[in-house]
Amino acid sequence: MDSDFSLFERHVDALYRSALRLTRKPEDAEDLVQETYLRAYRYRNRFKPGTNEKAWLFTIMTNVFRNRLRQRPAPTEPLDQPGTDFSIYDQLRREGMPVHLMSPEEIIVERGFGDEVKRALEELPLPMRMVVVLVDVEDFSYKEVASILGIKIGTVMSRLHRGRQALQKKLWEYSGRPKARPVAVGAH
């Protein structure tokens, strides 16, 4: 029996925003999502009704993406790198910022850590980027991510750990650059 394909329609935003993080280009992201849906449509009878259709779609998408990358590697993809022990919070504490008196939101706004999250994420090496996107943005469980990517749960956890540290390190580096500040009115 055919499964109802309209069930898959509602995940288009999730697939698109993740495709954008993977491909980093709107045209490529759109193309990737289209191919994902075409395959899902073609193989819709393999989907078991009652199981997680979002995870099923993401499995298809990451497979299509990896095949494409194999066929034409992106020259600008960052290489995988070893982990760095890094945490923004520890760094601020070391700098003497009174982090214990501030709310996390205050810290983030004060230093502008939120401004370039997407860019920082897109600069992570792919294995880490995929795991961070699937867990932190799409809210998949470790087990689901392991199944989507065909890797072990331990690998999911170590990539996630390294990915988050690398992400914080990038945000830290960006926030340290001088920024154009609005000129204070009336200051002489």
Partner: protein, 84 residues
């Protein structure tokens, strides 16, 4: 930093991801309730996770892609299958 703090910090991200066993959740929670410095770290890391999600959720699919998917979903099964 005590042993308890170190153990808690090691488990913190897994705790934030809600992937610890019930027993581990209880022990991490008990420590966080008791130890303000660890609780602050927890608050910050949890906020960082929310931040990543919030920043990335602003990109919705373009309308034409959404329409295209809707049409595919409405399509009679046979047409595409012959094509494939």
């Amino acid at each position: 930093m005590g042993d308890h703090c170190e153990q808690t910090m090691r488990k913190l991200s897994v705790y934030i991801d809600r992937e610890l066993s019930d027993a581990e959740v209880r022990s991490v929670k008990a420590h966080l309730d008791d130890c303000p410095p660890c609780e602050k770290v927890f608050d910050f890391q949890a906020e960082m996770k929310r931040l990543v999600r919030k920043e990335c959720c602003t990109d919705d699919a373009p309308a034409r892609l959404r329409d295209w998917v809707r049409q595919l979903a409405a399509e009679k099964p046979s047409a595409r299958d012959r094509e494939a």
